[in-house]
């Protein structure tokens, strides 16, 4: 296997509605930032891979429009996933493994504000049996939360603590959208919006973008003094039909964690893409994380959840903390689909 490192990461300041900028204008600054940080231009990027979805933009082939932000001339080697950009990073990692690329630019962006997000997300469901009923994304998460409470995996008190801890952690994250929180006991006085979920259990609706640059071996060492190595990466999927899944567990996360080698060494930090509070509990169990692991010091998706970028940001945040010396070995996780349907696990380590 080739050694592959995260060598740069940038993200937007995420917000509820980015009404001044279109997708190209929102994305371009983060692409410029990662390239400028490394002192390279697009000609030194061997492979470019992005994540986006036309369903958020409400525009056909919207990812082609945003290629304007890349500088794709002379023609570049490029690919795209209609998923969280963590999967674009996975594709780029595979491309580097094949030896066809030494450097890759990965980016993802999502404006959730143009449409009714809870309805838009229903379009990713089974088109025959589920999507015609328009179940909204919060209601589906509530089904999962109810199952978790019933199984005794978590409590509403623990869920409120996760919400408060995440948004207080975000106070030191200038890119986060929701910063600070009331005490869990105060949060629990609020009404349920989709029982058993309260407002604090749900992620904010966010517009935002992020970019990561990957580089192989010596090229990574040339580009930065602090490459953060991807020691393992894997992604797995659970059944599409919600009714056949045990929503209280995440077998796909557990398998991806095993394949990525999470348990091969001590983990001191995890960035988990758990948009709803109870999902953090499900993921901690699936990943086998101990109580000593710092989870979502950035605030995680409960503090800013720009769809498509939010999973890639977990990898970027974990890598940035390792590069700053705040952690040695970290786990980054990304999810896509309803109720943690698809999961990607990435193990990151510093150079020393």
């Amino acid at each position: 296997m080739r050694e592959v490192a995260v060598v740069a990461f940038a993200q937007t300041r995420h917000e509820r509605r980015q009404q001044a900028l279109n997708e190209v204008e929102m994305l371009m600054p983060v692409l410029h930032q990662v390239k400028e940080e490394l002192g390279i231009d697009q000609s030194q990027i061997d492979f470019t891979c992005s994540g986006s979805t036309d369903y958020l933009a409400g525009t056909a082939f919207s990812f082609v429009t945003t290629l304007d932000a890349v500088g794709a001339w002379p023609p570049i080697v490029e690919s795209h996933v209609e998923m969280d950009a963590a999967w674009a990073l996975y594709e780029a990692w595979v491309k580097i493994q094949t030896g066809e690329a030494d450097t890759a630019l990965v980016y993802g962006y999502g404006k959730s504000s143009p449409g009714s997000l809870r309805d838009v997300l229903s379009r990713q469901l089974d088109p025959y049996y589920v999507a015609p009923l328009w179940p909204d994304s919060v209601a589906l998460a509530a089904l999962q939360a109810r199952a978790c409470l019933d199984a005794g995996i978590t409590t509403v008190e623990e869920m409120a603590e996760i919400a408060a801890r995440s948004r207080r952690a975000a106070e030191s994250n200038p890119y986060a959208q929701l910063r600070g929180s009331e005490d869990p006991s105060v949060l629990l006085e609020e009404p349920e919006i989709a029982p058993p979920l309260r407002r604090h259990d749900c992620p904010p609706i966010s517009d935002g973008a992020a970019a990561v640059v990957l580089a192989a071996g010596d090229r990574a060492r040339e580009l930065t003094d602090r490459p953060v190595w991807i020691r393992g990466i894997d992604h797995r999927i659970d059944a599409h039909a919600l009714g056949v899944r045990d929503l209280t567990a995440s077998p796909s996360t557990a398998l991806a964690a095993e394949r990525a080698g999470v348990a091969d060494g001590p983990v001191d930090l995890a960035e988990l893409h758990a948009p709803f509070t109870h999902q953090e509990v499900v993921l901690r169990r699936a990943l086998g994380l101990g109580d000593d692991v710092v989870v979502n010091p950035s605030g995680g998706p409960l503090a800013a959840n720009p769809l498509i970028a939010a999973g890639l940001i977990r990898i970027g945040e974990a890598a940035a903390r390792i590069a700053r010396g705040e952690a040695r070995r970290a786990v980054a996780h990304a999810t896509n689909g309803p109720c943690l349907q698809q999961n990607l696990v990435c193990v990151l380590e510093g150079s020393d």
Binding site: A20, L21, E23, V24, E25, Y55, G71, Y128
Partner: protein
């Protein structure tokens, strides 16, 4: 359906061959800064391109980035509402929402001084006389709005045709 045994009461029923599940989503589109600048110009009968400071090309309609260099464009360039047809097609098929009489011609028109073209209709000339290199001018709506439909169509100016480089401006 091989191998599947249906209960007696379902055996002679017509099979379900398709289902209809209508879906409708509404979006509030954000034009962004560059497109807003362009559309505000259109509302004043002005065609405003934007020049890339790297390659010098005039981008039209501006979307916020030079698609060649991936940099923001900030220098506005007012272009004349007169230009050259660089490609066209004759439309013989009616599609929903179109009130156009068939056949009609849609074309790419590159305004003088621009490096890119605008999409539009060509009218006031028989469809079979339209050609690449033909000079045309915009026919504006009496009450222009921030909407490209404020250019109702393009019509011939009568100037001599000009040579058009493949896929580029005149």
């Amino acid at each position: 359906m091989s191998g599947l045994v249906l209960p007696e009461r379902l055996r002679d029923l017509e099979p379900v061959r398709s289902i209809r599940t209508p879906a409708r989503l509404e979006y509030t589109y954000t034009a962004g800064q560059a497109t807003s600048r362009f559309l505000r110009g259109i509302a004043q009968r002005k065609i405003l391109g934007e020049r890339c400071h790297v390659c010098g090309k005039v981008i039209l309609p501006p979307r916020g980035a030079c698609p060649v260099d991936g940099v923001p464009t900030h220098e506005q360039v007012e272009l004349p509402d007169r230009g050259t047809i660089t490609t066209f097609c004759v439309v013989n098929v009616k599609f929903s929402g179109s009130a156009m009489e068939l056949p009609y011609v849609c074309a790419t028109v590159v305004p003088d001084g621009s490096d890119m073209g605008l999409f539009g209709m060509v009218q006031e000339i028989p469809f079979d006389r339209i050609r690449i290199g033909m000079r045309v001018e915009a026919v504006w709506d009496d009450e222009p709005r921030p909407d490209l439909a404020s250019i109702k169509w393009w019509r011939p100016t009568g100037e001599p045709d000009v040579q058009v480089d493949e896929g580029r401006g005149a």
